[in-house]
């Protein structure tokens, strides 16, 4: 297996990085390119940019962010938010993104996952699953779509997804630890890489998640502070997590 990955996640709205708890009460906290570059320098393995405004306002503004990030950052990054078609996704990859992430649009039309995988290759297609109590939510966690999380994960794999980005809505922003039980269920249900998201509060939380998932998404734990990533990496190494030497 490749080395476990730490993936800072930047929520983007109107071209700015924002933050909020449980997807609500968004505040402006910086420029996506500057922050992304700083995380890259701090040892991030990949980056995720989620356009949290795109689905809600039916608008895609991410291509410009992707192009600017690609010029500054030479590690892989994923862009998600408001992608509804192969054309949307292709524009992001052509701008320099490595993967795209789909969520609400895949729930609305699961065939989209196959279309994306056929055109871009599975390795470029991340399906983001926002989940609470074993059920899937769409539209940035605001709508219960009445689907079982494990069944939806299996369907995504069958349709050609390359990775699953699994966010526990009830843990997101709480720093109370990842939902390890859910992650273990998904690890057993699919053979795709799983990216754990939601609940990181300590290095021990992350180390535990990386026992069952291939990567950990880091959001509120970093406080938009790249130095925190440096110290977290040291703590994780101390806990025996074999992170790459990023020098």
């Amino acid at each position: 297996m490749p080395l476990p990955r730490l993936i800072p996640c930047l929520d983007v709205a109107d071209g700015r990085v924002v933050k909020g708890v449980n997807f609500r009460n968004l505040q402006d906290v910086g420029d996506p390119v500057e922050l992304g570059a700083a995380y890259s320098d701090a040892g991030a393995d990949e980056l995720v940019f989620l356009d949290v405004a795109a689905t809600i306002t039916n608008r895609v503004s991410a291509v410009d962010v992707a192009a600017r990030v690609a010029e500054r950052v030479s590690i892989p990054f994923t862009v998600g938010g408001g992608i509804r078609s192969v054309e949307d996704a292709t524009a992001l990859l052509e701008a320099g993104a490595d993967k795209i992430s789909v969520n609400s649009a895949a729930l609305a039309r699961p065939q989209l996952v196959e279309e994306l995988a056929d055109t871009l290759g599975s390795q470029a297609v991340v399906v983001a699953i926002d989940t609470e109590n074993g059920r899937v939510h769409s539209h940035a966690g605001t709508r219960d779509v009445d689907r079982d999380t494990v069944l939806w994960a299996r369907e995504c794999e069958a349709r050609g997804a390359g990775e699953l980005l699994v966010t526990s809505i009830d843990r997101d922003g709480t720093r109370s630890g990842y939902d390890l039980e859910l992650l273990a269920q998904l690890r057993d249900a699919v053979s795709l890489p799983v990216i754990a998201s939601g609940g990181a509060g300590t290095a021990a939380h992350i180390a535990a998640a990386l026992e069952v998932a291939q990567a950990a998404l880091l959001a509120s734990i970093l406080h938009e502070d790249p130095d925190r990533l440096v110290s977290l990496r040291e703590e994780l190494r101390g806990l025996g997590v074999p992170l790459r030497d990023a020098a």
Partner: protein
């Protein structure tokens, strides 16, 4: 040094272009045989499916240009799918004939989570690079490995890397810098 990046409807050409620009190399994205043949270095990037990519190369006459470069001993760098396309064949998409620049075939990964995505240490250098693939080369031309999989393949003037140096941060930058220097010394 003039670098031509083959554009054939598959691939992360922009990321490769940006990585080469960071190294000060003059690169251009080409869709036709002639500039691909004339460049000091031809780069064959690639993500996506083998069948679509081979069709894209043939439609543009880029396959013949690459074969001619190889026969003249002019450098070619294949990245990820670009490495796999250089082999005799791939088992992807029900079987696809490759360019045959390098003996061997691309086979589906049978162990671990697939796609295989993430950073992995390449031996003998000990550097970690970023991988994203579901197939890997089985070839006698492998000169470096990652978890026993072919990571670097060298045959004649062709060098193929299964990882993405253009997305491998400082380690990828060092790899490309060293490779460009080697190409320069041959120009």
């Amino acid at each position: 040094m003039k670098v031509a990046i083959a554009a054939y409807g598959a691939g992360n050409v922009r990321s490769v272009e940006l990585a080469l620009a960071r190294l000060g190399a003059e690169s251009r994205i080409v869709h036709e045989a002639e500039p691909l043949l004339d460049a000091d270095l031809a780069v064959l990037p690639g993500v996506g499916s083998a069948a679509t990519a081979m069709t894209g190369l043939r439609e543009r006459g880029l396959d013949a240009a690459l074969l001619q470069r190889a026969s003249l001993g002019r450098p070619i760098l294949g990245i990820c799918l670009g490495l796999q396309l250089a082999l005799d064949e791939s088992e992807e998409d029900g079987g696809v004939a490759g360019l045959g620049l390098v003996p061997g075939r691309a086979v589906r990964l049978r162990e671990g989570r697939v796609p295989r995505i993430g950073w992995s240490v390449v031996e003998p250098s000990g550097e970690a690079y970023w991988f994203a693939h579901s197939y890997a080369a089985e070839t006698p031309a492998a000169t470096a490995t990652s978890e026993r999989l072919a990571a670097i393949v060298e045959h004649g003037s062709f060098v193929g890397v299964q990882f993405h140096p253009e997305k491998s941060g400082a380690a990828g930058h060092r790899f490309l810098a060293t490779y460009l220097e080697q190409c320069l010394s041959r120009v």
